[in-house]
C-alpha cells in the first residue's frame, strides 16, 4: 500500500467515525424523546390534569395537585430569582463594567450555574426547613430561585453589553442620570434578550427534582398552602416511577412527557427568538 492510499484510508476512517459519533448522539435524542412520547401519550387523559390522586387500583386518579404545585413553586421562584438576577446583571454590565469585581462575580456565577442542585437542596433545608420544623413550598421556590439567579444574571449582563455604549452617552448628554438611562434606554434595547433569558431560566428549573426533594418535599393531596409540603410534577414522577403500581408508572410517563414538551418548546422558542433578534 502506498503512502497516498494509507492517508486516504485513514481519512475516510476518521471521518466515518466522526459521522458515526454524530449519529450516536442523535440516536439517543430520538430514542429518549420517542420513548417518552410513546409511553406518555397513552396516559394523557383529561383526568390526569383534573383529578387528584386516587388510591392504587382505583381508576381515574390524576396529578392535578402536582401540576398546581409545580406551577406555584416555579412561579414564586421566578418572582424571587428574576429580579435579583436582572438587577445583579445590570450592576455588572452598567456600574461595574470592566472592574475586577464584575469579573469575579461573573466567574462565580458561571460556577454557581453548575453547582450540584442537590447541594442547593441541602443548603435550603438547613436554612428554611429545619429551623421552621416543616417542609414548605416556599423552601422549594427559594431553592429554585437560587438556581435561577446566576442564569438570569449572566444572560442579562450579556444582553445589556450588546447595547452600544454610545446610546447611553447620547442619553447622558441630555442630562439623564445613569439609572434613568438604564431603565428607559438600555432595558428597552435589551428587553427581548432579557425576557428570553428569563424564559430559558424557567425551562432550566422546571425540570429540577433534586433541590425539591428536601425543600417542598411532596404531598399526596391538593394543597395551595405554600407554608406546607407541596407536590411537584418532578418529585411526583420520581415517587410514581419508583413505586410498584402500573397506573403510577403510566402517570409518571405522562407527566414526563408534559415536562419534556414544555421544556423543549421553551428552549427552542428562546433560541429562535435570540437568533431572530440578534442574527447580526
Amino acid at each position: 500500500m502506498t503512502r497516498e492510499q494509507k492517508r486516504k484510508i485513514e481519512n475516510i476512517a476518521a471521518l466515518s467515525l466522526s459521522s458515526l459519533a454524530a449519529a450516536f448522539g442523535l440516536f439517543w435524542l430520538v430514542f429518549i424523546l420517542g420513548d417518552v412520547l410513546v409511553h406518555g401519550i397513552g396516559a394523557l387523559t383529561p383526568e390526569l390534569f383534573l383529578n387528584d390522586p386516587a388510591p392504587p387500583g382505583i381508576e381515574g386518579g390524576g396529578l392535578r395537585h402536582a401540576f398546581l404545585g409545580q406551577i406555584m413553586i416555579t412561579f414564586f421562584a421566578t418572582l424571587i430569582g428574576v429580579p435579583v438576577g436582572v438587577l445583579g446583571g445590570t450592576y455588572l454590565a452598567e456600574y461595574a463594567r470592566g472592574t475586577k469585581l464584575a469579573r469575579v462575580i461573573g466567574i462565580l456565577a458561571d460556577i454557581m450555574v453548575s453547582v450540584p442542585s442537590i447541594v442547593i437542596g441541602t443548603f435550603i433545608y438547613a436554612l428554611l426547613v429545619r429551623p421552621l420544623g416543616h417542609f414548605s413550598g416556599w423552601a422549594g421556590s427559594v431553592a429554585l430561585a437560587v438556581i435561577m439567579i446566576p442564569v438570569v444574571l449572566r444572560t442579562t449582563e450579556d444582553m445589556l453589553s450588546l447595547v452600544p455604549w454610545t446610546l447611553r452617552e447620547a442619553a447622558f448628554a441630555l442630562g439623564a442620570p445613569h439609572y434613568k438611562v438604564i431603565v428607559q434606554v438600555v432595558y428597552r434595547g435589551a428587553a427581548t434578550g432579557i425576557l428570553t433569558g428569563v424564559l430559558l431560566s424557567i425551562a432550566r428549573v422546571a425540570g429540577e427534582t433534586a433541590p425539591l426533594l428536601f425543600t417542598s418535599f411532596n404531598n399526596n393531596f391538593f394543597s395551595t398552602d405554600m407554608n406546607g409540603p407541596m407536590a411537584s410534577l418532578t418529585v411526583a414522577v420520581f415517587q410514581y416511577a419508583m413505586g410498584p403500581f402500573e397506573e403510577w408508572h403510566a402517570q409518571a410517563w405522562a407527566a414526563s412527557l408534559i415536562i419534556t414538551l414544555f421544556i423543549l418548546t421553551v428552549t427552542i422558542a428562546g433560541r429562535a427568538i435570540v437568533r431572530w433578534r440578534y442574527k447580526s
Partner: protein, 313 residues
Amino acid sequence: MAVPQKKDPLDRLFMIVTATAAISVIVILTGIFVVLLSESSLAISRFGFFRFLASTDWNPVTESFGAATAVFGTIVTTLIALLIAVPTAVGIAVFVTEIAPDFLKGPIGIAIELLAAIPSIIYGMWGLFTLAPLMAQHVEPFLQRTFGDLPIVGALFQGTPMGIDIFSASVILSIMIIPFTASIARDSFNLTPAVVKESAYGIGATKWEVVKSVVLPYSKLGVFGGVVLSLGRALGETMAVAFVLGNNHVITASLFDAASTITVTLANEFTEADSDIYLSSLFYLALVLFLLSFIILAIAKFVLLRAEKRYSR
C-alpha cells in the same frame, strides 16, 4: 466609556440595589459553604477529614459513617461516563464543524444541545424503564460473554447483569454530558483561523490531517476546558443516576454491581436520617461534593478563560 460625574441620589440608590443583587452570588456561595460546614461539624469532629474519606463504613445502625463508597461511586461513574462521552463529543464537533454540509450544521448542533435541555429526571425514568432492561437482557450478557473470561479485564464484567448498576448509570451520565463537551469543542474548533486550515489544505492535507494537525492542536485548551466542565457537571448529577444505581454502599470491581454516589446517597437517605450524626454525615457528604465540584468547575473556568485569551490574540 463616558459616565456622568454628577451623582443623582436616586442613581446612588439604584446602584446600591443592583450591587446588592450582584453580590448575592458571593453571599449565596459563601453561605452554602458556611452552612454545610456548620451542619456537618458534628460528623467532622467525630470522623475527622481523611478518616471520613477513607472509611468504607456506612452504617446508620452503629452510627459509623465514611464517604469512601459514595466517593468511589461518584468518581467511577463519572470517569466511565467521560470515557464514553469525550471521544463521541469530539467526533460530533468534528462532524458539525468540518464534515456536515452547511444546511445540516445548525440543525444537528441544536439537536445535540437539546439533549442537554432534557431534564435529568427524564433520563432517570427512561433509564429505569427502558435502558436498564435492555442492558440486563442484551448488552451486559453480551459484554460478559465477550470479555468475562479475559484475565484482569474480566473482573469488570462479573456478577449477574441486572441493569441496575454502575454500567447503566455511566451510560446515562455519558449521554447527558455529551452535549456540554460537544458544544464547547465545536466553539473551540470554530475559532481556528480559516487561513491556517486553508494553508494546510493548500499543501495537500486530507480533512482528517487538517483536524488532527491543525484544528485539534489549536483548540486543545478549549476542548480540555469543556471536558473538565463536563466532569464537574457529571459529579453532581442526581436524578439520572438515582434511578439506576441502586444505592448500594460498596466498593466493587464489577461494572455490573449496584453502587452509590454522593448524590444518590443524599437523594435516598436525607429525609430518612433519624439521628443527628446521620444527618450531619449526610451534610458532610454534601460539603465534600460541593468542594469537589467547586474546585473542578473553577479549574474548568480558568482553563476556558485562558483558552479564550489565547484565541483572541
